[in-house]
């Protein structure tokens, strides 16, 4: 396996999951096609 955990999406939820998974020491990757941020912040 390339990663323990892959987070798909770099919005509000994805970034908070990524940060926690990183703090727990997992080998992770994050997938994002546009800008990092989240709906409420950018468009909602």
């Amino acid at each position: 396996m390339d990663f323990d955990l892959s987070v798909i999406g770099g919005g509000t939820a994805g970034l908070s999951a990524m940060k926690s998974a990183h703090a727990l020491g997992a080998k992770i990757a994050i997938v994002e096609e546009e800008d990092f941020a989240g709906t409420c912040l950018r468009t909602g």
Binding site: M1, D2, F3, D4, L5, S6, V7, I8, G9, G10, G11, T12, A13, G14, L15, S16, A17, M18, K19, S20, A21, H22, L24, A26, I28, A29, I30, V31, E32, E33, D35, F36, A37, G38, T39, C40, L41, R42, T43, G44
Partner: protein, 395 residues
């Protein structure tokens, strides 16, 4: 929204003895530009970025090719576990001519403020944008398919919201079936068998934001969906694919940023350490950023009665709140739903200035389990809008 609120208050400042504000104008391009700047400053720098943490970013669109494998552009990657956080996208309803309408994503990038706007959908997004544009000077008509706007609201709060909508000059029509949107942005509809046509400069499609999971090809990983979202258990784990978790708008109906950043760490923990943390939404305050705003937490009166609870209510109109009086913002009400006898607080509903903030006092009291008379007996700062929550509980 806060800018438009200030604009609205300023234009009514003569009532407070401040003259000369009647001719204020609203500079749409300047407001949009400032909004873009704020968004930019928040989305850069302040958050932990993957780059700062040394986490590889796979750039592109992800698609499951097997339960433990995703393709991103031309590369495939394998992982033990996945967290789906692909959010939601505004729906384009299956209406003929829907392509002539715009979604909220597009509205907030419009270069020009529309003179007339028809809003298809009377949920919280349609209401928020409807109020904002109406107070900024747009002639707004909201078309709701069902019998009520914002169906999740307490009935009395909704009635007051409708009064506020009328004051903003918003026309609200219910039980409307939109049949066609023309290239000239004319909206044709069927209201109880009659055809009614509305002309507009922009048509806002505000019929919900389905989760954006389907483009991931969820079938390849055996991910079961509930409507458009990943069907998850209380651990945010996929019901059908245990190595998959979902968070935020991908995981369901509570489409709020605080839910998204609450769920992220829970799913991350469960995915890495095993299912140890459950989500708890027993006390979830929400707000609608209309003018005035609406805040609610817990059950509505109707929901409590439907559950067979002996529910009673107590209400405090904003007219009795000295802070509201001083600031000339007396439009509003606090309504408390509680259980007879135990005085257990079941729900609190606020419409009025600062409802989005004062509702959090109510949520806090419910979380720690204080009952109505205990809250009513507390000390608070006077005069404040939050005081209305305590005063309502004291009656």
């Amino acid at each position: 929204m806060s800018t438009i609120e200030l604009f609205t208050r300023a234009r009514h400042a003569t009532e407070l003895g401040i003259n000369g504000t009647e001719n204020l104008t609203f500079d749409w391009p300047a407001v949009i530009a400032r909004k873009d700047e704020i968004v930019k400053s928040w989305s850069t720098g302040k958050n932990a970025t993957p780059e700062k943490l040394g986490i590889p970013v796979l750039r592109g669109h992800a698609r499951f090719t097997a339960p433990h494998e995703i393709a991103v552009n031309d590369n495939t990657y394998s992982a033990e576990k996945f967290i789906i956080a692909t959010g939601s996208k505004p729906a384009r309803p299956p209406i003929s001519g829907a392509e002539y309408g715009i979604t909220s994503d597009e509205l907030i990038h419009l270069k020009e403020q529309p003179a007339r706007m028809v809003v298809v959908g009377g949920g919280f997004i349609g209401l928020e944008f409807g109020f904002a544009l109406a107070w900024a000077g747009t002639k707004v008509t909201i078309l709701q398919s069902g019998p009520e706007i914002a169906p999740a609201l307490d009935q009395e709060i909704r009635a007051l919201l409708l009064e506020s909508a009328a004051k903003a000059g918003i026309v609200v029509k219910t039980n409307v079936k939109v049949t066609r949107i023309g290239s000239d942005k004319t909206v044709e509809s069927d209201i109880g068998g009659r055809t009614e046509t509305f002309s507009a400069d922009q048509v806002l499609l505000a019929t919900g934001r389905p989760s954006n999971v389907a483009p991931l090809n969820p079938r390849a990983a055996k991910i079961e969906l509930d409507h458009s979202a990943v069907k998850v258990n209380e651990y945010l784990q996929s019901a059908s694919a245990p190595h998959i978790y979902a968070v935020g708008d991908s995981a369901g109906k509570r489409q709020q940023s605080p839910v998204a950043w609450y769920e992220g760490p829970i799913a991350a923990h469960n995915a890495i350490k095993g299912n140890e943390r459950r989500v708890d939404f027993s006390v979830l305050p929400t707000a609608i950023f209309t003018i005035p705003a609406v805040g609610q937490v817990g059950l509505t009166e109707a929901e409590a009665l439907n559950r067979g609870i002996k529910a009673k209510t107590t209400k405090l109109p904003y007219e009795y709140n000295p802070a509201a009086g001083v600031r000339n913002e007396t439009e509003g009400m606090v309504k408390v739903v509680y259980e007879e006898g135990t005085e257990h607080i079941l729900g609190v509903h606020v419409i009025g200035a600062h409802a989005e903030d004062t509702i959090q006092i109510a949520a806090m009291t419910m979380k720690v389990g204080l009952n109505k008379s205990e809250v009513g007996a507390m000390h608070y700062v006077f005069p404040t809008f939050g005081g209305a929550i305590f005063d309502a509980m004291a009656t």
